[in-house]
Symmetry: C2
Subunit: 309 residues, 2 copies
Amino acid sequence: MSRQTITHKDGVVYEFAPDLEGVETVESGAELTIETRDSLDGAVQSEADVIESVPEEVNAATGPIAVEGAEPGDALRVEIEEIRLTEDQGRVITIDGFGLLDGDEGIEAPRTRMTPVDDGGEGEKATIAFDDLAVPVEPVVGTIGVAPAAESYTTLVPHDHGGNLDTTDVTGGNAIYFPVFQAGAMLAMGDCKAAMADGEMCGTGAEIGTEIDVTLEVIDGAATDVGLARPLIETDDAWKTVASAETLEAACELANRDAVDLLAAAHGFDDTDAYLFSSLAGGLEISQVVDPLVTVRNAIPKDYLPSPF
Amino acid sequence: MSRQTITHKDGVVYEFAPDLEGVETVESGAELTIETRDSLDGAVQSEADVIESVPEEVNAATGPIAVEGAEPGDALRVEIEEIRLTEDQGRVITIDGFGLLDGDEGIEAPRTRMTPVDDGGEGEKATIAFDDLAVPVEPVVGTIGVAPAAESYTTLVPHDHGGNLDTTDVTGGNAIYFPVFQAGAMLAMGDCKAAMADGEMCGTGAEIGTEIDVTLEVIDGAATDVGLARPLIETDDAWKTVASAETLEAACELANRDAVDLLAAAHGFDDTDAYLFSSLAGGLEISQVVDPLVTVRNAIPKDYLPSPF
């Protein structure tokens, strides 16, 4: 089966809305290559190109892709097989009014630093350069989500539908599960980084265009069966609940509550025992602190949680 | 050189105060074994023993230990060689009014679950049991600190002097550096866990008595030279700034600011470039969200930061 390619020319969205219309319709099981532009739509090609304020349209998400048979109450599994860079440089920037240390003494905005890619040659890992420092390329899909239940969200913010999660675990080899809120799910993604720190403190990673190989699968009734209200990530060794909220404290509560529910269901624990156990293994991780809703995850090692699906 | 042992019978503190008096005085370079009681001073020996409210005195910290020659402006390096459990069971508990999900539907407090230790036998890793789940023993020193500059802090809270940091990286094989605020530094530690999740969501890990092998070293003038205002952790592969504050957002800002300062000094970056770089590698991590001041760290891989000392 040849891999269908969907590019930003097929369509992009800057808002996850309940009434999205798909630019393509695919079957459950489809293997796709999704091409994405950098989050700034190519506006930054050198260090002279600075972004004065957060653009009204940012984080173009390629899609939406309608998945046949996906209905509210189902889960959509997005397996991310590989993310390939399609530019020879990324960019990391400050924007006035945006970022963890915005307005702090000595922190200037706007500023742009380009991060050239070195593919490393035969058998070597690719890196990006920041002055004389080489950072391994570990690509991240920053914005990925489905059509939400009721409200609309720009691609700048994360919420229960996904969106601007900026979570380093959304990378090759992992899978992310979304609750399906609307018929067809309406998946879209973009805003990739060649590398990003947990936290994405200055407001960006090394923003870059990519091609993403994914396999989509609809799991009938799974969101209802599992009580999946928000995204869930599967890595090699952990399940990670993902929650976004106005404060890190509120996001931590949601992510931990979701982890407690999964542990309780898996082991027949009551909520209190699941909560006590959650305090012993894995734990809370920061995704991003800047979008301006913030995102955290609660990792549960697979040793303690079989697949909830 | 035989290893000197300091036990809780030599002295404990429930408050890190500026005017602590040492129970022992040791030289820089001293190799010590510190014996610590569990954070609840032995009050919980079975699941019938519950803690109704946070005790006025909790997290007994063995010490304080005066280190000869330590003066304000110096740094104290505490290398943690090994943490050995001295009890055959730990305990993980909820307390009314305490913990991330306190008051949430289905979360009962007080509750106690005992976590028996299985030493695993020859060549096997020790574990603690929670029902039929076995969690690897990965001990953590929850409370560790020095006499603060001006204010006093109970051993329930963390701040710039250390205290109740509840940080999983404070474990065997790592080192933690403190700014010295008072002559002699006045190191104390306790509140160990057999295992703990990042976040310590229910308010405890598996609380347990321990013996901790440490080596202490005074680094002359290092706090002033490095601008060390708060604890800093050295792991095998990273330097991690550690910051505590009233909100996770504020703690993230402090931890990131400290990371920016270290990166700027190491590479001759201005603050903005250091900030941009900090957003590409390593990143923010959650220590604990419950103490009630919260603690986060900002990891900088050693690939990008030589020892600042």
